[in-house]
Symmetry: C3
Subunit: 171 residues, 3 copies
């Protein structure tokens, strides 16, 4: 099963994905896309890490997500990716070539992975259109990516106030 | 049937509305409210246009939306308006008198139109309250307009990641 | 019954909460958290007040929400709090100690209140992540507060275009 967990900031996306991982009863591989570039981000990463069971394997991958999924997904393993929005920001910072290559690789690899994969991503497009062209680009790319991934996933959930709302698939 | 398709940026609103138009089996009139004021907007307009069937009649109307609906709606025709948020921005740029007149005209005309009409609009009020008073005004007016239109429509859909979530009416 | 009404700006949250109050058939206590610091806010407050029945008791409380709920909640009374986002902003402006004390007090007091309470709050975390650290903090705290309150409430509704979407509980 491929899952996409969407929601706003602090909507409970990561926690819901972590519960899905625990409920699977499988070995869990946690793919972290965050890069601790400043103290605030380091604190956020630390907070997420403290909540995860020690038995989970953590893989840090800011860019080559498709390759890491191919390495780690398989029967008996639950792969949790948190989160796609940071990954997207990392890709766009690397330039158009890296962005297009890695984005396309994820979309190509995802359907063929043998085991369950759960992707967490931020909904960022429901506020006022940003005045900053880079922010506008980011909002566009996040929205388009979510549409393409949702079409490939079996289950899509939108989180609000820690509560899951099913957009696709069974609860 | 009157429909309102809401959703964030790149949530698949236009595509869903276009699918509704195709599924209707009717002649389609596409009312475009966008004005190509800069290169970015021209590119967005071009992208939308390339996706539409050639058989559709396109009507460009940045302001007098009620009049264009009265001209074009009727049995056997599906009228698709994309999008209300740009129209609202156009109206507010023209000043209070034009804004109030055209907004009121749309609300008065809509219920009496004989054929199906599908209105696409952006959800912009779920981010942080904008510091800019004009942006705040825009968020307020968009929200109030959506409420009044939703009360008049038979079907209201909220889009996320290309997936429709029904807020009112039947799927 | 404890209820949480979430939604974006001008999504119809207050109106929905007011309808719930009227439908309850109980005496209504309206707890207003807004402080009329400028003309725009005074106008917003005036608009809300003009819509409320004269029989409702209005209590203004920018900070000590838990104490006001203890004073006013009880069998035969419907307490409506509008809104938590303004209250949260008021608390953060007072400093960390007041913020932590009052936030914790609300979470402790809410489950034990004898009568129905309806809390209105703004969803602010679905736009682009704000560049301003204070805005980012506000988005984080609003999201975390919503998660904790939603877990304590019997009914959670997300409003869009004046239409309620049930996230938890029965309609």
């Amino acid at each position: 099963m491929k899952e996409l967990i969407l929601g706003g900031a602090r909507s409970g996306k990561s926690r819901h994905a972590e519960q899905r991982a625990v409920l699977s009863g499988l070995d869990v591989v946690y793919v972290a896309t965050a890069v601790a570039g400043d103290a605030e981000m380091a604190a956020r990463i630390g907070g997420h890490r403290a909540r995860r069971p020690e038995s989970w394997l953590t893989v840090e991958e800011p860019l080559a997500l498709a390759a890491r999924l191919e390495d780690n997904a398989g029967p008996g393993r639950f792969v949790l990716v948190d989160c796609l929005t940071l990954w997207l920001g990392n890709l766009l910072a690397e330039g158009e070539d890296v962005f297009r290559r890695e984005r396309q690789a994820l979309l190509q690899v995802l359907p063929g992975l043998a085991g369950p994969v759960c992707l967490v991503s931020n909904e960022v497009g429901h506020g006022i259109v940003p005045a900053n062209p880079l922010a506008r680009r980011f909002v566009d790319e996040a929205g388009w990516l979510h549409q393409e991934l949702a079409a490939l996933c079996d289950r899509v959930v939108w989180m609000a106030a820690g509560l899951p709302l099913l957009l696709k698939g069974a609860s």
